[in-house]
Amino acid sequence: MNAEIGQFALILALMIAVAQAVIPQAGAWRRDRTLMAFADHAAVAQLLFVGLAFGLLVHAFAVSDFSILVVASNSSAAMPAGFRMSATWGNHEGSLLLWILILSLFGAAVAVLGRTLPARLRARTLAVQGLIAAAFLALTIFTSNPFARLHPAPAEGTELNPLLQDIGLIVHPPFLYLGYVGFSIVFSFAVAALIEGRVDAAWARMVRPWVLLAWIFLTIGITLGSYWAYYELGWGGWWFWDPVENASFMPWLAGTALLHSAIVVERRQTLIAWTILLAILTFSLSLVGTFLVRSGVITSVHAFASDPARGIGVLLILGAFTGGALLLFALRAAGFDRSATFRPVSREGGLILNNILLVTATATVFLGTFYPLAVEMLGPDRISVGPPYYNRSFVPLMIPLLLAVSIGPVLRWKRDSLRAALGRLRWVAAGCVLLALALVLALGSGALGTALGLGLAAWLVFGALAIWAVRAQPFVLPWRRTAGLTRSMPAGTWGMICAHAGLGLLVAGITAVTAWEDEAIVSLSVGQSAEAGGYAFTLTAVDVLRRDNYESEVATFAVARDGVPVTTMTAERRFFPQTERVTTEAAIAPRVLGNLYVSVGGPSGAGAWAVRIYSHPLVLLIWFGPALMAFGGLLSLADRRFRIGLLAARPGLRAARA
């Protein structure tokens, strides 16, 4: 019965979404307030029905209702309850429903939190959001019904891929989707503004919190995914330039550019058309990501051809929304911009450089991801594009960007000189050059790359602190005055400091791990030991345990440094009899921002196990840095100046306008 209610709720949600797409748009056209107000109610109702459907699906997974096909093929009663529930989005149908749930969530959030937005803009934004929801609800109902029944119902289901039975699956996809789909509302704002034919500083100010919100979620989602891969896959990799990762990275890069270009719109009312275009492209890249993951096109264009309904569905949606929005853009965006009222070397100019480099980087990742598909489609040849390509195309773009990241925030608005800006950063610059030189002297000329990377990292971290120093003038002003200036610094500025410093920590982590990672791949019997990174690892015991739905081989290692015991680590190898799959659970022991990492492979010879031991110095910075970036985003979001709807809510301003 529940499944039928769920299905019915989805159909109702589709009807509501269609009405939401049409009625408020007509209302905005005819300036009819009643019709426009329909958007708010529709957005909330749509969320309720999608939420009901999603809740029922989660419930079906929780109680193992194997009469539903999706449940029977992705869950088993033997799985622990938490993983049974997260299995809801561990499959195509369920994850699509989660996608739609979040889409509705953002629509309803605008309806509820955006009361102070101009009525017509809000109605049009919600109408566009309704149109996106309608397209995806139709996709799910017609090609991927999560509530399809299975008759007769089997007594036991096929458990979820063991790799996915992990806390990582519980948290990673929801955050990633909140990020991906969060850009939908920015897209809707952009399209609504194009329909209105008017974009001004207030528009940029209203949209920025939503960009920021989506960006924060996407940052967290990607970081969680990277950490999940690190501990689950068993060889300590944290980024692979895999198409699926690229799919989430492209909207992140474009979203980061958007975050910065919106500042220029707010300040100077130029780059408006560009910002609208970025908003459209960022969400399109989210759709591209959905298409990549959902269609099977990644493995091969031929795999795509074998089950085309869903892939073509997403492709049609992608084409219609991107194409439609770009057409509207071409028709409407011409008169938006004034020519610049600032010089190229200025804060605004710095933000433009940020955009040029980030967008080129996005396009580079796009080329690398899709070029093999294009080659395969066009001719007899097949090519692969892997990390070496990105090292030679993406990384060179990042170096000038990272250099500019610290200069931009100390540039003055409107007009400045590079010499003056570098003068403000002279101590930071001198320190970083000295650090890099010292590293080259200490480590030899072979470590040139390492010195460059760590010098850049220091440039970013201390450059971020310089943002504070330039504003609060410590050692120049009396310190009481410095403290006062520090206190009055807006939350948004602290957010920028955190985000830029976080980027520096990320660069430091990547550089350190690349340069100083140490590994030992050995075959060990109980009692034998191996060495990596100055630590000795002794295999002390291998136990076998039985758990809910797997058997586990638990290898215990005693870790010592210079004969002094440091810690013990237990790495697992799990065998899932039902799917006959094996997963590795690496043992990870944090050591001052670095990790010791051990994973056990299969038996290797009589009574011995294949063991992989790594020392990853400073690796934690790779996730701590982005976490700090996301925290910086949160700080900015808390800034009063960007608080949603503040403009109209402040009585003084309202009076002044009236």
């Binding site: 330039w241 020519s339 080129t360 791949i521 291998v542 299969g602």
Partner: protein, 159 residues
Amino acid sequence: MMRALLAFVLLAGLAAAVAPPAGAVQPDEILTDPALEARARAIGKDLRCVVCRNQSIDDSNAGIARDMRIILRERLLAGDSDEEAVAFLVDRYGSFILLDPPVTPATWLLWGGPALLLLAAVFGFSRLWPRRTADVAEPALDAADRARAGALLDGDPRP
């Protein structure tokens, strides 16, 4: 003791029967000469396992990746240079295995694309500053504006 032994036999049997060897490069593949092994690892990172999704043979658990790793090490042991060993594998498996795609007419756009895009973006944004109006005139303030600004600065909210 007996239990541990039984468990070991059980697990070993199962592992041999059904499990892919977990975790990429295996201890028994590693060459005794560390310099040669380091070369093999470096080359392996840039070669794609033919059945995997964009995984290098160095990272892959697949059986064919193991075969490719072993062939690579045999070639290096036989005295091949890095290029010769790679060429040997490309002969067997096709240029598809090169994660570092060679520059050919088919990949010109791939390698040249980023530079072209960068130029296009720089050119596009440079049009924000039309040559003729290089010195942008500040909108001049008339007397009424000045009076209003002065009143605001003096703290009078309603000039």
